[in-house]
Symmetry: C2
């Protein structure tokens, strides 16, 4: 392959002042990411070596390494001992945008929408009680929403909040969304476990999502925990598989 000469970019491009409150390595990572996505560092281009870069930027080598590692984790850069650091070749960097169904819906002209179907306190089922770590039959808040994109139904979202957070009202939900409402209550999410699967749509889901009875749906179950390890939210979501899929980049370390 061959990267040829290393590409030298100006310091002010690599360390943008955009977010002066961010840490050094975050700023550097942002500068590098922009350089890659803008094409200033085209696919296959070689970066300066870490030591030269750290001297030119006036930061230490571990700081440079941390920024580069961030982009390696995102799949934009590749590092090889004895070789150097390169922008990932060819299609990968571009493909991320092309095939991004997820982002398509959030941006790209699609108008996201939400319809609240239910917001009620109900006794916890055994599954919900287990997931939230509360007593069986404890009063939890059940939220059911229909998510739309361009007025096309995309997903049925069913969430449960533990008793301590069960006072969320519809106004807050509409204004800030579920996670926004939690955040304004001082809840800080730290860890989540999720599982992605598939099954037949229930009759109600088929009706809401405009599918035929028994059509496949993509499901995602998630339990989120705050800094204390207390369960904050359990959700069972169900997506129209022709309009939604989960994408991710895996990086070898």
């Amino acid at each position: 392959m061959e990267g040829g000469e290393a590409v030298i970019l100006p310091v002010e491009q690599l360390l943008p002042d955009r977010a002066p409150l961010a840490t050094l390595w975050v700023r550097l990572a942002a500068g590098l990411e922009d350089a890659v996505t803008s094409g200033a560092l085209p696919p296959g281009a070689r970066l300066e070596n870490e030591i030269a870069l750290s001297e030119r930027l006036g930061v230490s080598r571990p700081t440079v390494r941390r920024a580069i590692q961030e982009l390696v984790d995102k799949g934009l850069l590749v590092r090889r001992r004895g070789i150097g650091t390169q922008v990932v070749h060819g299609s990968v960097a571009r493909q991320i945008e092309l095939t991004s169904l997820f982002d398509d819906l959030a941006s790209a002209g699609k108008v996201p929408g939400t319809r609240v179907l239910e917001l009620a306190k109900v006794p916890a089922t055994p599954l919900v009680a287990t997931q939230l770590g509360v007593a069986p039959e404890a009063e939890v808040l059940r939220i059911r929403r229909l998510r739309l994109a361009d007025d096309v139904p995309l997903a049925v979202l069913q969430n449960y909040l533990p008793p301590a957070l069960a006072d969320l009202d519809e106004q807050e939900l509409a204004d800030a969304g579920l996670y926004g409402g939690l955040r304004s209550r001082g809840v800080v999410l730290r860890v989540a476990r999720q599982r992605i699967g598939a099954r037949k749509a229930t009759n109600e889901e088929a009706r809401l999502l405009d599918l035929t009875r028994g059509a496949p749906v993509l499901t995602m179950d998630r339990t989120a925990y705050d800094a204390d390890g207390a369960a904050v939210e359990y959700g069972h979501h169900c997506y129209r598989p022709d309009l939604y899929s989960f994408e991710m980049t895996l990086v070898d370390r």
Copy 2:
């Protein structure tokens, strides 16, 4: 919550000699992970602070931090400034094992099996050519396998290899598996993009997986790249959703 006194574990437990070739931080991370999963560090337990730990172990603080970070990323530990580092509370650490359908199949008494359905050179379809970055109609190797667990059909795996790797034979595939065969050819995987979705089973898939016609299947598409950014493999896999799901832990940074 409250973590109380920090739990002090012996140095030899935290830095096991098991893998003396591994790096320091990997060994420490392994020692800590064992302490958590074995219960020596029960849920909610507080670790020694980083400086005390580094002095007692005779390693530097960044090394301790890197090991701890690894476990934070795995969702086993939680760090908070001014507070300390704790084992994730309650159900999380345990739940990871309980709900691990993925690991259940690889271990836990299940006997994994594979049946090669096809191993043939075929002209690349437009999709495959795009994914592998080869010319349309180029000769690629198509591999179709049925994956079994305890003789129950679990998934249909369909993989494509580019012309340069199309000489993989059935013996190698049986002995080392697909990724093993690639590795023995000197291929090092670095990055992969994957997408998880759902759809109806084709009639053939339904027959192979012992499903009714049109039943839902869980699908995973993956394109893997080597260090040069060249596509090494494209796969379209399709799983029985009642026997398989994808699990992951998300960590806030």
